[in-house]
């Protein structure tokens, strides 16, 4: 296979190509933006109705107290992990191929966290009292319950969101300076001038920049792992059969990386097509990304099997009943769909001919995420339908349109944020691509005999 990037791209050409993506959008952009806003409208309408009337309209009931909101919350939190994987972990590992694609992955991290956060709010019965969860000073010395995994969630998500916004922004400063220098008027000039913090590219600035970026990267890695472990604790710490599983935290982290990588493939293909980034988002990079996704998919499958095996061979009869109920009960179609999309479908990615076939990858990556969404739903819903106590067993529950509407709208919200980002900020890191080109030409200069990729 070819090179990750051509070594003879001129630096000015990189600037030109990337800055072109910031130019006034075509009509299709506005159409999609409008659709996204309409989707948000559906969600806002549903939420207003639910807020006014009560949580009952979501068609949850007294044994099924959690539903799609929590499932989709985990889904969005999961999506957010890939950005950190690509930016921070691969940055520390000096994997050069991440450079053209990490920026939009980081943006995806931030925006999916912003989407996930909304689901916590939508889920609450008394949204207007949400500040009770925060440890604010008050005259009665009443604190939140620090034993509760939901409080850990609040801390973890707030920390992760603020750190990933910081990481995204810090990593963008040299690029913002390029934008500032190449755009000469209008609100963009003002925005880039303020946001580039007087970046001039001096040696001292670069040195400080490198240290800062590395520090945040090191800080983010344990944070990302702990965030999804804490989300997993919401379930692992409880005593519900189907939730009370020790292997949940690593299982959740693997699932998070999995769905995040699949989402990166989807967005990679869209950006490559829309912005004509063929020179930067190359097929060899896609191939590496697909292989990474395949590896994570297999880790996820393995952890899934471990969970089933430990339940099956364990002595907890209720948990075993719960597993059988999942596989054979009313939720069976969704359960097997999850297994198919999550574990069988990714086997395709092992074949070379599919690793760079963009139309197939586009569809497969979306289906993988469908599978991961089903996985989260299959954690929530069947556990409530077949718990410890027989009274819960014959209660059917299907989410109402209000729940589906809010879930649907969340995709619009994410699309809106992402589309605005792509037009306001460079979605490919210009300075890192230049570095990559430079590294490559250096390598060629010193070892002219070497062929192929490194």
């Amino acid at each position: 296979m070819g090179k990750d990037i051509r070594e003879d791209i001129a630096w000015a050409q990189i600037n030109k190509d990337v800055l072109k993506s910031l130019e006034s959008p075509r009509r299709m952009y506005w159409v999609i933006l409008f659709i996204a806003i309409a989707m948000i409208g559906v969600a806002v309408g549903s939420e207003v109705y639910q807020y006014q009337t009560g949580m009952g309209v979501s068609n949850k009931n007294n044994s099924h107290v959690w539903g799609l909101y929590i499932a989709t919350f985990i889904f969005w939190i999961g999506m957010s992990h890939s950005g950190t994987l690509l930016s921070a972990i691969l940055h520390l590992m000096h994997a050069d191929w991440r450079k053209p694609i990490y920026r939009f992955a980081e943006a995806m991290t931030t925006f999916s966290l912003m989407t996930a956060g909304l689901f916590v709010l939508v889920h609450l019965g008394r949204l207007w009292m949400v500040y009770y969860v925060m440890p604010y000073p008050n005259e009665r010395w009443v604190w939140p319950n620090f034993q509760s995994p939901l409080v850990w969630d609040m801390f973890a998500i707030a920390t992760y969101l603020s750190s990933s916004v910081l990481f995204l922004y810090v990593g963008m400063i040299p690029d913002l300076a390029i934008c500032r220098d190449n755009i000469h008027a209008g609100w963009r000039k003002k925005l880039y001038t303020v946001m580039s913090l007087g970046w001039e590219g001096t040696d001292r600035q670069w040195r400080n920049f490198r240290i800062t970026y590395l520090t945040i990267a090191c800080f983010l890695i344990p944070l990302a792992v702990s965030v999804h472990s804490i989300v997993a604790s919401d379930f692992a710490m409880s005593n519900m059969p189907g939730w009370h599983v020790t292997s949940f935290p690593p299982y959740f982290v693997a699932g998070a990386l999995y769905s995040g990588c699949a989402a990166i493939i989807t967005l990679f293909i869209i950006l490559r097509y829309v912005f004509k980034f063929e020179e930067y988002m190359t097929l060899p990079i896609m191939k590496k990304l697909v292989r990474l996704t395949f590896a994570i998919a297999m880790v996820w499958t393995y952890l899934n099997l471990i969970e089933f095996a430990s339940v099956w061979y364990g002595h907890d009869q209720t948990a075993k009943d719960q597993l059988i109920f999942k596989a054979t009960g009313p939720y069976a179609p969704f359960f097997w769909a999850m297994i198919f999309f999550g574990s069988i479908l990714p086997l395709m990615l092992a074949f070379k001919r599919f690793q760079t076939h963009l139309p197939i990858l586009f569809i497969v990556s979306i289906l993988l995420n469908v599978g991961m969404w089903l996985e989260r739903w299959m954690i929530i819903a069947p556990s409530f339908a077949h718990g410890h106590y027989p009274w819960t067993w014959d209660h059917d529950q299907w989410p109402s349109l209000v729940q589906w509407g809010i879930v649907f709208g969340s995709f619009g919200w994410f699309t809106l944020l992402f589309m605005v980002f792509c037009k306001v900020f460079p979605s490919v890191s210009m300075y890192e691509v230049k570095e990559m080109v430079y590294h490559r030409s250096l390598a060629l200069k010193h070892k002219p005999a070497v062929k192929g990729d490194y």
Binding site: T53, K60, G125
Partner: protein, 284 residues
């Protein structure tokens, strides 16, 4: 839970089930329900609706699982392969078990559900944000959520029916969790009266609403610390101990005559409600 309180009483926040290290001094409210006497008449449930201002949600919402029966009569059939069970259904009144080590308490993000010194599992409506984690973690599913705004929007008590509301009990709005309180409003009055008289509450001085109306006297309620209390005697006769997760009935072969057990004890919730097993013809 102030920081000073947290630091000074660290051991109190660390223990697994409170009555081991911190025995109940004056009161430990507990119940015993004799399933052999229970006829499944639902009087307890009705009394609870009247006493505790439970909204009657109507047929449709009831079918959706939005009901509020703090005590519910469950029916179990032992068909044994026949079309109808010979002895009809077995009944089991289920209410909040006021666990000594309650799974709902640890998971509430805002600390809206707590353990009182009297061994009750309390619910603070004003503090509840409606995350419903407590219900998710309750193995008995004895907690009920206000899915709608029953007092106002849903108008469950239209004029003049609001006159029947019990003034001693809060009327809950939408978005909060609620559950059996062991009629805490009655306990508070009884304790207050007893304190004025310079004594503890006597056995029989306070009754829960469900106990009061039970036509067969299947429900006994009282103070487990009080050696004279009926409920304590029942627990002792059945060799049911608060701090154990396995009782004599299940532990020994010779103890076939014992009927006392607690539901889902193996989860180590240490419930305060003891059930007396129904004697079936086959078992005698």
């Amino acid at each position: 839970m102030s920081i000073t309180n947290l630091l000074e009483n660290w051991s109190d926040f660390r223990q697994q089930h409170p009555s081991d290290e911190r025995p109940h001094r004056e009161y430990k409210w507990a119940m015993s329900i004799d399933l052999d006497s229970c006829t499944g008449c639902n009087a307890c449930s009705v009394a609870c609706y009247a006493e505790n201002n439970l909204p009657v949600v109507g047929k449709e919402k009831f079918a959706h699982g939005h009901s509020h029966h703090w005590i519910r009569i469950e029916r179990y059939w032992d068909n044994d392969g026949r079309e109808f069970a010979d002895q009809g259904a077995q009944f089991l009144p289920m209410l909040c078990q006021h666990c000594e080590s309650a799974p709902c308490e640890t998971v509430c993000p805002v600390g809206a559900t707590n353990h009182t010194a009297d061994g009750l599992n309390s619910q603070v409506y004003n503090r509840c944000v409606g995350s419903r984690y407590c219900n998710a973690n309750c193995p008995y599913k004895a907690r009920y959520f206000n899915w709608y705004d029953y007092p106002t929007t849903d108008n469950v008590w239209p004029e003049p029916m609001n006159q029947q509301l019990n003034p001693d009990v809060t009327v809950r709005g939408k978005g909060v969790m609620e559950k059996c309180t062991f009629c805490v409003q009655r306990l508070t009055v009884a304790k207050s009266n007893a304190r004025s008289a310079g004594r503890s509450v006597l056995d029989g001085e306070v009754q829960t609403a469900c106990q009061q109306v039970c036509p067969t006297g299947a429900i006994s309620f009282g103070n487990l610390v009080d050696p004279l209390a009926k409920v304590g005697k029942q627990w002792m006769t059945q060799q049911v101990e608060l701090n154990k997760d396995k009782q004599a009935k299940d532990a020994e072969e010779k103890a076939v005559k014992l009927r006392g057990y607690r539901i889902l004890e193996e989860l180590r919730t240490y419930p305060s409600v003891m059930y007396l097993e129904q004697l079936r013809e086959s078992a005698i």
